[in-house]
């Protein structure tokens, strides 16, 4: 019964979404306040029904109801409880339901926080969000119904959740990522509402800024978690593969980052208005495009969902309506007037524009690289692959350029900044960074020679120290060297500072782990040992152990540094009972300055095993940097100025006449 209840709840949610999409929009044109208010309650109601539907599906998983096809395919009685719950979003249908749940959650949040908005605007925003909800609810009900039963004879036992997904990573990564993806629907809706209203002054920018920040924080954390998950779970120590699915999440992040920066100029100075509107549309469009790429089967990926052309068609139609429609609206109603304000020289406006050029070029490059194999195939130019060498070739210089500009962020002023002023401020940091970058790679290695002096490390350290010293110099100047005045700096300033330093930390991890990563694939018999990166790894033995739903070979490896015992690592080779899949579970000893990474390969006879040893310096900084970036975004979103002057009640139609229409 619960299953049917879930299905019906979803249908109810669809109906409410339809009302939410239509009624407030009509009201906003006809001027009926009551009609406009309908969206708010519909959003809340829709959230309740989708949540109910989601709860029903979760119940089916917990109760091992294998008469539900989706449960039977993705769960199993042996599965531990936390994975039964996270298995709800472990495959296509359920993850789509999670998407719908989060979308209705964001809509409700908009409805609740819309007190300070003019009613016409919030009505239109909610209407756009409702229209998106209609699309996803229809997608679920028509092509991807998670509540479908296997009747009349349900299986006694379920298949299993893909062992790769039986991990803490599945519990946290998709919800975070979707919060980010879907969160960008809010600034999208604001942009559409602004286009409909034809009002492009700073107000819409001011209102959508906190939403952008929050969505962006979730996306940042989600991507970092995903990268960390791939690192420890896939078992070969990579943390980013430029796989289409990863690119699908990274493109909205880049566009969203560009949006965050450009909208600050739009809000403060009224410049780049059409560009900011376009970015708001683009960011959410890229989220939708990501959904298409992941679920339609047009590209091969390690992480893609089971695909189905019928779903592909549906998303493509949905995509063309939403994106095509909004771009058409943009083309017809977008602002063509140049803003009245002006700026010059190395003003903050110029720097933000350059920042946008780097970010959007990176995004476009990734889009082209990701879709090029498809394009070549469609044009019958043969099958080609575009992989990490291509993406790194462009991405590294683009990001380096971005980091050079980023150093100046705090020093630039709106309207105009003297180039000479920036050069003067950059003098000390550039000398400090240069010295650090040239000397540190000498002490990073045991035996210094031309072959061990890493140029990669020099370049990355130069950039990292540049960003950090410039940020600190700015902080020093802003606080006039007094600790007491630090608390006087605004949340958004701290946010910027921490996010920029976070980027530097992340780059440090990427650069140093690439430059100094060492790896050996060895045949090890019990008792054998090897030297790697200043550590001695000794292989003790392999034992057989039993887990809740798998049996495993567990290796014992002891690590010493000189005479000091460091850690005992136990990598596993698991064989899952239900499907018989074999999984490599690496064991990692992580510290801030290095990870020891051991994974167990194949048995080679005579009790010997193939084992891969890796020492990865500073690799942890990658995700630490990601978290700092997220923290920065959070601080900026919590900035006091977004909360002041909040209105208790929504205003009546007449007053909005001033701002809209």
């Amino acid at each position: 019964m619960t299953v049917e209840l879930g299905h019906i709840a979803l249908i109810f949610a669809l109906c409410l979404a339809v009302i939410q999409a239509i009624v407030p929009m009509i009201g906003s044109f006809s001027g009926h306040t009551n009609w406009m208010r309908v969206g708010h309650s519909m959003a809340a109601g829709q959230f309740v029904f989708v949540a109910l539907s989601f709860a029903c599906l979760t119940t089916a998983f917990i109760q091992d109801d294998f008469s539900v096809a989706y449960v039977a395919n993705n769960s199993n009685t042996l599965l531990p409880l936390q994975f039964k719950i996270s298995a709800v979003w472990g495959a296509h249908e359920g993850s789509l339901l999670l998407w719908a749940l989060i979308l209705s959650g964001w809509s409700t949040a908009v409805a609740l926080c819309s007190g300070k908005l003019p009613l016409v605007l919030s009505a239109r925003v909610l209407s756009v969000l409702g229209a998106i909800s209609v699309g996803f609810a229809l997608f679920l009900l028509l092509t991807s119904n998670p509540f479908e039963r296997i009747l009349p004879i349900p299986p006694v036992e379920g298949g299993d959740l893909n062992p790769l997904l039986q991990d803490f990573g599945l519990i946290v990564h998709p919800p975070m990522l979707y919060m980010g993806y879907v969160g960008f629907s809010v600034p999208f809706a604001f942009a559409i509402a602004a286009l409909i209203g034809g009002q492009f002054d700073s107000a819409w920018a001011r209102w959508s800024r906190p939403w952008i920040n929050v969505a962006w924080v979730f996306l940042t954390i989600g991507i970092s978690l995903g990268s960390w998950w791939a690192y420890y779970e896939l078992g070969w120590g990579g943390w980013w593969f430029w796989d289409p699915v990863e690119n699908a999440s990274f493109m909205p992040w880049l566009a969203g980052t560009a949006l965050m920066h450009s909208i600050s100029a739009t809000e403060k100075r009224g410049v780049f208005r059409s560009w900011t509107l376009l970015l708001a549309i683009l960011t959410f469009s890229l989220s939708l495009l990501g959904t298409f790429l992941v679920r339609s089967g047009v590209l091969t990926s390690v992480h893609a969902f089971a695909s189905d052309p019928e779903r592909g068609i549906f998303i493509l139609i949905f995509l063309s309506i939403v994106v095509g429609g909004s771009l058409l609206l943009f083309a017809l109603r977008g602002p063509t007037m140049r803003s009245a304000t002006s700026y010059s020289g190395w003003s903050r406006e110029t720097m933000l524009l350059i920042n946008n050029v780097f970010l959007v070029s990176s995004m476009a490059m990734i889009l082209i690289g990701t879709l090029y194999p498809l394009l070549a195939d469609v044009l019958d130019m043969g099958k080609i692959s575009v992989g990490p060498p291509y993406f790194n070739f462009f991405f590294v210089p683009l990001m380096s350029g971005l980091m050079v500009c980023l150093g100046f962020a705090g020093f630039t002023r709106w309207k105009s900044t003297e180039g000479r002023f920036l050069l003067r401020k950059g003098l000390v940091p550039s000398i400090v960074s240069l010295i650090m970058a040239l000397t540190l790679p000498m002490v990073m290695v045991e035996k210094l020679s031309w072959s061990t002096y890493s140029l990669t490390a020099v370049v990355i350290l130069l950039l990292v120290f540049w960003v950090v010293t410039m940020s600190l110099e700015d902080l020093w100047l802003k606080s006039r060297g007094k600790l007491s005045s630090l608390s006087g700096l605004s949340g958004s300033y701290w946010g910027m500072l921490i996010a920029h330093i976070g980027l530097a930390v992340c780059a440090l991890g990427v650069g140093l782990s690439t430059a100094y990563d060492v790896q050996k694939d060895l045949r090890m018999a019990p008792g054998d040992s090897t030297d790697l990166g200043g550590y001695q790894f000794q292989f003790i033995d392999v034992e057989r152990v039993e887990g809740p739903n798998f049996i495993a070979y567990r290796g014992n490896v002891e690590v010493r540094s000189g005479d000091v015992f460091v850690v005992s690592l136990s990598p596993e080779k698991r064989s899952y009972k239900s499907g018989g899949q074999v999984m490599t579970e690496a064991d990692i000893d992580g510290q801030l300055n290095r990870d020891l990474y051991v994974s167990l390969g194949e048995p080679l006879g005579d009790q010997a095993w193939a084992i891969r040893f890796q020492v990865k310096p500073f690799v942890r900084c990658i995700w630490l940097g990601g978290l700092l970036i997220g923290l920065g975004g959070l601080l900026a979103a919590l900035d006091k100025r977004y909360r002041r002057r909040r209105l208790k009640k929504s205003v009546n139609v007449k007053s909005e006449g001033l701002a809209f229409e």
Binding site: S202, V357, S385, T530, R594, S655, E656
Partner: protein
């Protein structure tokens, strides 16, 4: 931190353990590692030869090892493989008439972007002096809108 990261590649002190893939000359190993990370497993979803456990990847790794020992250059090795498995296995696509757009467009986009930024900047600089009067303080404009809302309540 225990130092000696890159150096360890060259000072391999092995006690009993042996390399799974053996080379007559250790400098080949670095090339081997680069090649197997830049070549794609033809059978798998989206993995390079280094990370894939598929039998075909194992075979191709051995083939690459054999070719390296025969003193073939990286170019020759890639040629050898693409003549059998097509360009699909190259993660770094060759620059040819099929891929001009792929390799050219990122640079073109960056250039166009920077050009627009410079042009906007220059146009603004010309107007910078004369526009002060029409300039609207956006902060006060927002305050005005918000305030009008408050008053109407």
């Amino acid at each position: 931190m225990p130092i000696g990261l890159a150096a360890a590649l060259f000072t391999s002190m092995l006690f009993g353990s042996e390399n799974l893939v053996k080379f007559s000359d250790e400098s080949l190993r670095i090339r081997y590692q680069t090649l197997i990370t830049e070549l794609r497993c033809p059978k798998c979803q989206n993995q390079n030869l280094a990370d894939s456990n598929a039998p075909i990847s194992q075979d191709l790794r051995e083939e690459i090892q054999r070719m390296l020992e025969q003193q073939m250059s990286n170019r020759e090795i890639k040629q050898h493989l693409t003549s059998r498995y097509s360009d699909f296995i190259l993660y770094r696509p060759d620059v040819n008439k099929t891929t001009y757009l792929l390799w050219g467009s990122p640079l073109a986009i960056l250039m166009i972007g920077l050009l627009i930024a410079v042009r906007l900047n220059r146009r603004n600089r010309i107007h910078a002096g004369s526009l002060d009067k029409t300039e609207v303080d956006q902060e006060s404009r927002i305050a005005e809108i918000l305030k009008s809302g408050e008053d109407d309540k």
